[in-house]
């Protein structure tokens, strides 16, 4: 077990390292000079030189990369060009919206998908199964940002129950509160969860069906367990492996989905931050946010792999 974990941990660190090199290379080396991109075609040589010095672009590449890495490791980041604040502070502030949004969406996805998937499997080839499968096929085809727009059309434009976007803040000092904040996140979370749940429900259904055909389930039934008991005690636990795999893969979609959906609902989260950073040509923010998001994807995949090993002992011995 520990050998498996060590090996997986080494791969994880290596992936993070390579990701950082790619992000650094793409954003700092390829285009020639970041200062030129930030200032545009009309920049004078003097203003270019000044920005180069300010951004530290006059230093050797390796020193800049090492500084960036050392800074990230110590939680110390460069200042954003447009906000003149350390990017870590900006990101931390925006995560107060993005993180709850992602977590609510993930929770909704899991509950919906497991319920629908298990229901469809237990009604295999019946009307319930066909209905769930048809609905999920359509769900997969719906872009999350369009579903978000439809939700706004229904609940904000037609019924006028909620506002069409924006975020009031988590505290009364900001003009909001816990309930107001949650209210602002519920439609975006539903928009994110629908598509993910559609995919996951299909995976859950086929995983449950697959395990139901196994001999040990038949043995359990022969011992006198009802269908329901066998499902809860034996099938679900074993069906979780493919479900977890897909959930891990979906996390990347959830992250990118958040960027888009935050923009639909004008939520001040990380997605909106990076989007504004692109418009402002704030390459420092783009670099750090892209690195953060890539790191989150890599970390989640690592955690999923470790979870597999805990669920299925065969995997840790197979390495």
């Amino acid at each position: 077990m520990s050998v498996f974990l060590l090996r997986r941990f080494a791969t994880f660190l290596l992936t993070l390292l390579v990701a950082s090199v790619v992000v650094f290379a793409v954003l700092e080396l390829l285009p020639g000079n970041a200062a030129e991109i930030i200032l545009g075609d009309t920049a004078t040589p003097e203003s270019l030189a000044a920005l180069n010095t300010k951004l530290g672009l006059d230093r050797p590449v390796l020193t800049r990369y090492a500084d960036w890495m050392a800074g990230l490791a110590q939680g110390r980041t460069a200042n954003s060009i447009s906000y003149d604040t350390p990017t870590a502070e900006l990101i931390a502030e925006r995560l107060r919206v993005t993180l709850p949004l992602a977590l609510i969406a993930m929770a909704l996805t899991t509950v919906l998908a497991l319920a629908l998937g298990v229901y469809a499997a237990s009604r295999h080839n019946g009307i319930g199964d066909v209905g769930v499968m048809a609905a999920s096929q359509i769900g997969i085809a719906i872009p999350n940002f369009w579903f978000a727009i439809l939700l706004i059309l229904l609940f904000a434009v037609k019924l006028q129950w909620v506002s069409a976007g924006g975020f009031p803040g988590w505290t009364e000092d900001d003009g909001g509160g816990l309930w107001e904040g949650l209210q602002a996140l519920i439609l975006p979370a539903i928009a994110l969860a629908l598509v993910q749940a559609a995919i996951l429900a299909r995976v859950t259904r086929s995983a449950v069906l697959e395990v139901m055909r196994e001999d040990f389930v038949r043995t359990a039934r022969a011992k006198g367990l009802t269908r329901r008991q066998a499902l809860w005690r034996h099938v679900l636990r074993n069906a979780m492996i493919p479900v977890l795999t897909v959930m891990g893969l979906q996390f990347a979609n959830l992250i990118t989905g958040t960027i888009v959906v935050e923009n639909v609902f004008v939520l001040p989260g990380v997605g909106r931050l990076i989007f504004q950073a692109i418009s402002n040509r704030d390459l420092v923010v783009v670099r750090d946010v892209v690195m953060l998001l890539a790191a989150v994807v890599v970390i989640v995949n690592f955690v999923v792999d470790v979870l597999y090993a805990l669920i299925d002992p065969r995997l840790r011995h197979g390495g």
């Binding site: 992936t15 991109i37 872009p143 940002f145 369009w146 990118t256 783009v286 890539a294 994807v297 890599v298």
Partner: protein, 279 residues
């Protein structure tokens, strides 16, 4: 294609529905090359936000542009993105997958680790990085979606090709002196083609969704070229006056993606009957 395949295909509901929707989308794109009710970028302010009528079947947008024409020409855009982005993924992914499978050892390890690593950068993240430097545009979004497709195809190719390499007829070919390149071309590729076709169909659908999202954010297709994603972006600011403008492009995206996904599912069932029976 044998006649029994065609007969089975015609009896497969999701294949038929998927094929119909896909042909409809391709037909719309082809038609728009020759004809559309109006030039899609033609601005007609006096007629802005017009309701559907005989003159404008689906009405007009806030600049008086004809919605039906924009939807028709927008289909071209989605198809171009899908074909090129899947082409990049298919070309490079199949090459690396075959290489990994034929050489095994450290080459396989390297290719697979590189594929794992590329998954850390979903298409949207790559697109954001590229756009931050080169500015928004169709080419950048195609490149970003294409890059994301490479590991998808590399993994599928390698898995399927490894299975072919362990078959007796490949062993026979090797003992008769055929090289790795010859075996890959003569035996591996023809045997994994069906899986690649299925994946290409599904990746095409994903590419359409990704391009729509990028264009919605303003990072993809730029004006005056119509795109479904950007139509949705523009419609959002008119939601209170003209809510239907935010509905049509979405329906176009859903029908196209649904069609391709159903087609892919149908092809998988038809090409692998064993799998179909177990589903």
């Amino acid at each position: 294609m044998s006649s029994s395949f065609v007969t089975r295909a015609l009896r497969h509901p999701s294949f038929v529905l998927g094929a119909l929707l896909s042909v409809f989308m391709a037909g719309a794109a082809a038609l728009s090359l020759l004809w559309s009710p109006y030039p899609p970028a033609e601005i007609d302010i006096p007629n802005k936000l017009a309701a559907p009528s005989a003159a404008h079947w689906l009405g007009t947008d806030s600049l008086g542009r004809d919605i039906a024409s924009q939807l028709l020409v927008g289909a071209q855009n989605s198809i171009v993105v899908g074909v090129i982005a899947v082409g990049i993924g298919l070309g490079l992914g199949v090459f690396f997958g075959c290489l990994a499978s034929a050489r095994r050892g450290w080459v396989e390890e390297l290719v697979m680790r590189a594929a794992d690593f590329t998954f850390a950068f979903p298409a949207l993240l790559s697109a954001i990085m590229l756009t931050a430097i080169y500015g928004p545009g169709l080419v950048m979004s195609i490149v970003a979606i294409g890059i994301f497709n490479i590991p998808v195809f590399a993994r599928i190719t390698r898995g399927a090709a490894n299975a072919v390499w362990s078959r007796e007829y490949v062993l026979a070919a090797r003992t008769s002196g055929k090289g790795a390149v010859r075996i890959t071309l003569d035996h591996v590729l023809p045997n994994i083609a069906s899986q690649l076709i299925v994946q290409a169909t599904i990746s095409f659908a994903t590419a359409i969704l990704a391009e729509a999202a990028l264009s919605y954010l303003g990072l993809g297709t730029q004006p005056p070229q119509p795109s479904w994603g950007r139509m949705l972006n523009e419609a959002q600011s008119q939601m209170f006056q003209a809510p239907m403008l935010a509905v049509y492009p979405g329906v176009a995206i859903v029908l196209s993606v649904l069609g391709l996904n159903l087609l892919g599912d149908g092809l998988r069932d038809l090409m692998d009957p064993k799998l179909a029976r177990r589903r």
